[in-house]
């Protein structure tokens, strides 16, 4: 950042002068650089990037701004946001939760096995769940008055249990989060697949499916020519998953930024030793953070499986973790801990979903899409390095 002044000093040497004021061009350059730095360090930087990206691409991809596509982008954001919010907590304490993907798969299987309204022996006969939980009549909760609530509770408890196991292993057994959750990813993922022998469990009750698809406010753009407007021309705007995701994000935001617990989370991420010596209940905080992460993954499982109308053990496989961690890191949460905000994650998710959407619209194959996404995450990591350096220059 001192290039301008260095040049000025260089000139001074040639002139033999002892002091030199930076040139006018140097001042303007300095001011521009200051502006750019402000922008880069702003909480809203990724939002600006997303908007700029969106506007720049509209001429090339006219379908991008179609109401149908916008509704699609929104509907893809909500489940990812719920899961990414949980990951934000873990990254903020300097950890990582790779098991989120398998928690999504397992929770969706647990919920579907309990709630399914029917079962098919032809499909499920080899699955350990068949006969034990599932039957021709569906799951044990099918048709019960409070079945839906109990089923959802079971899914969330599944998440909490796995999160507690992760947290205890990291906090009390001092194992590295990467190892613990990688093993979780493999073992829990395999367990979920074994439960159903990799079959999907369906059909699910309508009330459940509503949670992933239900619309509250939908819009139709244009004149009403016919008495009945065709379904596909009505675009969902406010939906149940939106309310759920926004609710989760808001609660998480308040928890992290306003509560005593949130302060503890940042303290553990900034300097664990100092936090311990200052009386922060470090181990309990770590366990709680991993439980929040897995709980969010389970909540994400509700939205994903309801939208799919099936419980699927492989729901969180493949590039899913790339999406989650990528979105959080792009938002600006540091992999080194101590630095993270829910609002950053919201913008990171927006950018990531927008990116996937535009790449799809460009008719790229999923392989190409993953390659581009990988590159973008790398760029985000680079951005984090720049930001950190800028911040250091500002404050020392």
């Amino acid at each position: 950042m001192n290039e301008a002044s260095t040049t000025a000093v260089g000139t001074a040497h040639r002139d033999g002068a002892t002091t030199v004021a930076p040139s006018r061009a140097g001042l303007v350059g300095e001011r521009l650089r200051r502006r750019a730095a402000d922008l880069l360090l702003s909480d809203y930087f990724i939002l600006y990037v997303s908007l700029a990206y969106f506007i720049i691409l509209i001429p090339f991809l006219p379908t991008l701004s179609n109401p149908a596509n916008l509704a699609n982008i929104l509907s893809n954001m909500w489940p990812l946001l719920v899961v990414a919010v949980g990951q934000t907590f873990v990254l903020t304490i300097g950890g990582i939760d790779l098991s989120q993907g398998s928690v999504v798969g397992l929770a969706s299987v647990v919920g579907a096995a309990l709630l399914a309204t029917a079962g098919s022996e032809a499909v499920m006969a080899n699955a350990p769940l068949w006969g034990l939980v599932l039957s021709e009549q569906g799951g044990p909760l099918a048709g019960l008055p409070r079945g839906l609530a109990i089923g959802i509770l079971a899914m969330l408890l599944t998440g909490l249990l796995i999160g507690a196991l992760n947290g205890v292993s990291v906090a009390y057994l001092d194992m590295p989060p990467f190892m613990v959750t990688l093993v979780g990813l493999i073992v829990i993922g395999a367990f979920a697949i074994w439960l159903t022998q990799s079959e999907n469990i369906r059909p699910l009750p309508d009330s459940y499916v509503q949670l992933g698809k239900g619309q509250i406010v939908s819009v139709y753009l244009g004149e009403q020519a016919e008495p009945r407007i065709p379904r596909r021309e009505i675009h969902a705007f406010i939906t149940y998953p939106m309310l759920i995701a926004v609710g989760v994000a808001l609660a998480a935001h308040l928890l992290l930024s306003r509560s005593v617990f949130g302060r503890y989370v940042y303290a553990v991420g900034s300097n664990r030793r100092a936090a311990e010596i200052s009386g922060v209940p470090v181990k309990r905080v770590i366990v709680a953070v991993f439980m929040i992460s897995a709980l969010c993954a389970a909540a994400g499982a509700i939205l994903y499986s309801a939208r799919l109308e099936a419980g699927r053990p492989t729901l969180g496989e493949g590039a899913f973790l790339l999406d989650v961690i990528g979105a959080v890191v792009i938002g600006g949460t540091s992999l080194f801990g101590g630095k993270g905000k829910i609002i950053w994650t919201c913008f990171g998710v927006l950018f990531f979903v927008l990116l996937s959407n535009t790449l799809n619209l460009m008719n790229l194959s999923s392989f190409h899409i993953d390659m581009v996404k990988g590159g973008v995450i790398l760029a985000a990591a680079m951005l984090d390095v720049w930001r950190t350096r800028l911040l250091r220059e500002r404050t020392t």
């Binding site: 000093v9 040497h13 509560s259 005593v260 302060r263 900034s270 100092a274 200052s278």
Partner: protein, 498 residues
Amino acid sequence: MSALVRFERLTKAFFGVPAVDDVTLDVEEGSVLGLIGENGAGKSTLVNMVGGVVAPSSGRMLWRDAPYAPRDAAAATERGIAFIHQELNLFLNLTVAENLFIDGFPKRFGLIDRHAIEARAAELMATLDLDLAPNALIEDLSPGERQLVEIAKALHREAELIVFDEPTTSLTPRETGRLFDVIERLRAQGKTIIYISHVLGDVARLCDSVAVLRDGKLIESGPTTTFDISRMIRAMIGRELSGLYPERSAGPTDATVLDVEGVSQPGVLEDVSLAVRRGEILGLFGLMGSGRSELARVLFGIDPAERGTISLDGRPLPTRPRERIRAGLAFVTENRREEGLMMEASIEDNLALVSIGRFGRAPLAFVDSEALTSESRDVAERVRLKAGDIHVQPAKALSGGNQQKVVIGKWLMRSPRAFILDEPTRGVDVGAKYEIYVLADQLAAEGGAVLFISSEIEELMGVCDRILVMSRGEIVGTFEAPPFDRPSILAAAFREAA
């Protein structure tokens, strides 16, 4: 003699605030220049400009009368400048010889020529009159020996200007003596040295000339012969220091607050008993390895003790630090960087850390940030913190003395009953030291009990009501009430194993 480096009206401002302000100074070739000043006076910024770490805002530097503007640290190294920092830059898992050659190994048949590097390392050791084996692993060396390897590395790179930044902080007296011998030797070989230190006695003894910085400005400079220590202090802090230690505002009472009975931990502590009374500053003196810091950690519950009881106001303390804090114990660690502060976090967040639970408001435990900010400001004022906006400024941007005030301040926010201060003035300049003594006195005067642990015998004699001496994990002497007898305290500390 001519100047190796000349600063001409050199200025460096960070966001408009000058850290170095219009400094013009010559560093004579082949001499030792003592650079002194309080923390934040601009010493580091000045040498960082020579080292190419930061670029000047205005003014210029000359190297043997030719303009010198290093682009980066590598360019400065190339020119012949070496730094010996407090934190050393050695690879602990490599040998002495490997560390010397880390940026360019001589090779034979594509492999490192081990014979050649060890021969060259031995040669360098000889020029410094050292007896370190070239194939010794750095991790097996003492802090003093590691520092000498750094010096050898500087010589290997044919450095002409060597900057020592607080080199004696982690050295034993004997290692310090050896370091000074080496510095003398370097000077005899024609090397130029800038020596930065808070230990003014060392500066007076070692340096040919002295330069004093205050608030970024060069206040005074000249041959060491014209400076006595009181003149140095006067120039550094800009006023006469009436005494090095404050008057005690109140004396101890008879009520015991912190009571330690027969605490033992095999290999660390042996049957330690002590009692700190209400209003008392109890000094604990010991050399490195005497068990003084280990005792502090056991008392606070960070490390375990096999036997013994520790009680506060007559009640036995629970085991863990968290519970002991709740009971009213406070611990200012000797290691503020690793254990005391969240360096990246704001001063306010650091001050709040211990007592944040108190600011949670029902029903959801949201932090009452207004109350928190106002209490943090009060505490910052009480410890006389010199800082910008404590809400945004990170702890790492503070000088050592002010960082230590933050560490003390975060405990003040909880109003504890007993304080364990472990080396509270380490790496802190004269002015801030005095302020820390004043704080210790206040804590005691307000009815607290203070256990003041230090390896500096003078400060203990200056501020304490009683002094205990530790050696090899045992309390080996108790010295009641000032005036204290320095030689007998030292004799107790140096006692050989009975």
